[in-house]
Amino acid sequence: MRAALLIARKDLLERVRDKSAFLYGIVAPLALAFIFSFVFNPIQESTFSAEYVIVDEDGGPIAQAFAESLYGLEDADVATVRRVDSVEEAEQQVETGSDAFAGDEEAQAHAAFILPAGLSDSVLSGRGGRITVIGAAGSDLAAQVAYSVADGFAAELGAVELAVQTVAHSGQLDPATVGGLAQQAAATENPVTVEDVSAQTKQLDQTTYMAAGMSVFFLFFTVSFGVSGLIEERRLGTMSRLLAAPIGYRSIIIGKALTSFALGVISMGILVVATTLLLGAEWGNPIGVALLVVAGVFAAMGVLAVVAATAKTPDQAGSFQAIISLVLAFLGGTFFSIAQVGGIMETISLLTPHAWFLRGLGDLQGGQVTAVLPAVGALLAFGLVTGGVAWFFLDRAVRP
């Protein structure tokens, strides 16, 4: 391991000297993220219109009140609200929503609100209740609006409980009564909780999307400086010296992997902070972002290691890496939302680490760190599979 660390340290020093990693890892993605977010933002903001469906299995006053609040959106020409009879029908409309919004079908629904039977009774008796919001793939903004509406409604009901405590402070009740009410209020569940099941289908605001897209696109170039170092060592003739040295030959491979990992994580870390501060990107929970970054770097290392293990010359490796990085980025939706295209392209995009990285960031917008785990798992799987293939062939790359 000592030898691997020495090799990684040497490689990082070289990369600092030649400034190429700095250019590919930080300057280029930052500049393009700025340009793209600036160009696309006005278009995005002028086209909002949402289709919602509501399933009222409750029929009580709480459900009625919620439905009324939704119709307020219709009055504001922001959304169209339709009632459907069953949860299944609502789910079907939301599921086909992505394709519909791509323009090849009748519009279905950006999101569905499920008001379960007994909601009103449960809320009114103080036991709390649950409203479920289901968002459609590719309708991130509309789904976010739906979630906010439901969340606001739930918060409004919560204010009733707050009002009890406010009255107590005014001194109109005796202290014993206040104590009892306070205990009762503390024990009472939030009257309505909003369950957001659309997390897996969310996407990012345009600025964040472009920042993340450019970051993951250039990540594949930055990481390549590490793994393609095997070929570079051969070009420089220094591979023979490394092989003649009293170190395990796997140390050379591990050293290059450490270089890739460090370059990837450092450049992504800087980009996350820089785009947040300079462009106002909202990446989400730092822990979730960190998990995605590490998993994304791991996936990129695996893909590019295959190239490094199979390319015969530095030029060939450079060409392969550029082509693969571009194709994966294109299919993965780093330049535009692949969900807007929909159909087979959306399915194909799931074969790219880029799509999973962006999808993971979208999932993270719901606020739960655990929401990124599917994407993290997919990215790690990419890394394991491609890295495993590369490991099998890397012996060929470690030669004079």
């Binding site: 030898a3 020495l6 040497k10 020093l13 070289e14 000297r17 030649d18 420089l236 003739g237 220094t238 023979s240 010296r241 490394l242 092989l243 003649a244 040295a245 009293p246 170190i247 395990g248 030959y249 030669r399 004079p400």
Partner: protein, 347 residues
């Protein structure tokens, strides 16, 4: 590459292995592993690339303080052979022992005994000379004060102390070549393997490199030196293995190789006087194998001209011959190679 080297490119005395004050501690431990005094033993080496048998049944031994040359034309199998000796290349057959320890491509400890200087420059252009040396010194286990002292010492010896902190892409060809050799000497190896170190080097630097190798062997280092320059092999090597088409076709000291092919020294005289009388006066000498008169002189084939030339000239002077010129041609390795393979070294 070496054409741009100037006066500053003269390689002075390289650090020797008998400098015990600076010897890396692990090297002392390795000394106990010496095998019958042989630092390197290899036998039956074979390497095949597709249909090409690059090396076939190559074997030799090198003792402490001995310089062994692998002499052969380009493509003869020299680099492939030493790549297997140094554990860079997987061999298809054969064995390699360094200080008595078996060496393979996966070996770690035996490689500590080897200093390898590849034919092509093998340095990092974006790192300084000091950083290059420090990196490789650490790979060989040096650290702390010992590492710094050793790096400084090598920088001084290769004449790059004043350029230690410059990146090597700013160096002349000769400076890079010196650094390339210096890296191989950092850890004071038992066995120094130099793969055609003078290829592409200007004559001045080339001579300096040869002087340095001579000095290293006198200090006890075993040296494996590959070359296709006959003069270098004759000058440096205690023993020479002549390699062609992947096989060692002959091996021994220069004298042994010359005798192997049955060639003797040729002495050519420009003289006037009784040439036929001179022929008769010398024909019966033991060391004169052939003698013939020609216009303006005599041609002799003799055994060991160095030992017998004085006596021969004495016999000729007594025969009243006026000698104006003496030219001695000793058979060289070029002639041996030609004899053994039917073609010249540089064909």
């Amino acid at each position: 590459m070496g054409g741009d080297a100037g006066q500053d490119d003269v390689l002075t005395v390289l650090p020797g292995i008998n400098d015990d004050n600076a010897r890396h501690t692990c090297r002392e431990d390795d000394m106990s592993g010496a095998h019958n005094g042989q630092v390197l033993e290899c036998r039956g080496l074979r390497k095949v690339f597709g249909d090409l048998v690059a090396v076939d049944d190559v074997g030799f031994e090198i003792a402490e303080g001995e310089t062994y040359g692998l002499l052969g034309p380009n493509g003869a199998g020299k680099t492939t052979s030493i790549s297997m000796v140094c554990g860079l290349l997987e061999r298809d057959a054969g064995e390699v022992f360094v200080d008595g320890d078996a060496l393979t491509t996966r070996s770690v400890a035996p490689k500590r005994s080897i200093g390898y200087v590849p034919q092509e420059l093998a340095i990092y252009p974006d790192l300084t000379a000091r950083e290059n040396l420090t990196f490789f010194a650490r790979l060989y286990g040096l650290s702390g004060g010992e590492l710094k002292a050793r790096v400084d010492e090598v920088l001084t010896v290769i004449g790059l102390s004043d350029r230690a902190n410059d990146t090597t892409d700013e160096f002349s060809g000769g400076m890079k070549r010196r650094l390339n050799i210096g890296i191989g000497l950092l850890h004071k190896p038992h066995l120094l393997v130099l793969d055609e170190p003078t290829v592409g080097v200007d004559p001045q630097s080339r001579n300096a490199i040869l002087e340095s190798v001579e000095q290293l062997s006198t200090q006890g280092m075993a040296v494996l030196y590959t070359t296709h320059y006959m003069e270098e092999a004759e000058r440096l090597c205690d023993r020479v293995g002549i390699i062609d088409h992947g096989k060692i076709v002959a091996e021994g000291t220069r004298r042994e190789l010359v005798e192997l092919v049955g060639q003797k020294d040729r002495v050519r005289l420009l003289a006037s006087g009784d040439l036929e009388g001179a022929v008769n006066a010398t024909r019966d000498l033991d060391y004169v194998l052939e003698v013939a008169a020609r216009e303006g002189g005599l041609d002799f084939i003799v055994e060991c001209a160095a030992d017998n030339l004085t006596a021969l000239l004495g016999r000729l002077s007594s025969a009243e011959l006026a000698i104006t010129s003496v030219d001695v041609d000793e058979p060289n390795l070029e002639a041996v190679f030609l004899h053994l393979t039917g073609r010249a070294l540089r064909d």
